[in-house]
Amino acid sequence: MYQHQTLEQLLGETGIAPPGKLTVMRGDRVRVTIGFNYRGTALSFSFRAAIGNKGYIFDEIAYATKAISLPASADFLGYTSFVDISTAAITPQANLDLYAKLTGLPGADLLTPYYLDVIDVLGAPEFSGFAITDYSKV
């Protein structure tokens, strides 16, 4: 479902929760914030978030990574983290997809759901059809 952005969201002042749509200018950085709960031994791994197109596989156009180290805990503790993805390499287009994953875990990578059609990347400011349409005596 498309979610209209507020002015603050358009200005990037507040985050948009999935599945809301974020519209950015090419070259902007998109901050992706994740949350999870963890319990177990002290653990170090990598957090990766990517913008791209989800097909049979997820074609990552732009991504960012961050190392995370968690202390040991017998109980579930909540964590948040973020990465900033540059959109400079993304050809302006609409309806890009987003996902995040944790890699370097003892087992398989852990993936978030795929968030479809949540990022629109606009090109540089551009005019077209600039012309005098008429002139008259007033």
Binding site: R29, F36, S73
Partner: protein, 130 residues
């Protein structure tokens, strides 16, 4: 506060060591040693916390303690991959300026088995431009 001259004898009582009874390897173990002044005058006291006679995690924290009062001295250590015994020591500063051992208490902290690494609720919370 004026330094009180004390003679030989016991002037303090380590009345409690506040610490978890178990902790997981790698977990930060917070410890508070409570020392009571059992003398009739103020005493300048130092607290020392050590585990397994190996690691000093409360390192000569000093304070005046009024007669009958109890003061807490806190520190922490990272739980090793074994059971440990915490020792809390109190020292007092004698008339000659030397620190003398006065009292001791110990407490065991057993190694807690941890569950295998487990995640839940992993999701993107939000995204924004910066």
């Amino acid at each position: 506060m004026e330094k009180i001259i004390v003679g030989a004898g016991t002037y303090t009582d380590v009345v409690d060591i506040v610490a978890p009874s178990s902790a997981a390897a790698g977990e930060t173990v917070s410890v508070t040693i409570k020392i009571k002044n059992i003398h009739s005058a103020s005493v300048y006291v130092a607290a020392v916390g050590v585990y397994d006679s190996e690691v000093r995690f409360i390192d000569w924290l000093m304070a005046w303690i009024s007669p009958g009062a109890t003061k807490s001295f806190s520190g922490s250590f990272v739980m090793p991959n074994k059971n440990v015994t915490i020792h809390g020591y109190s020292y007092y500063q004698d008339i000659d300026g030397y620190w003398r051992y006065d009292d001791e208490m110990s407490k065991n902290v057993t190694l807690q088995a941890l569950p295998s690494p487990e995640f839940s609720g992993f999701a993107v919370n939000d995204y924004s431009t910066i």
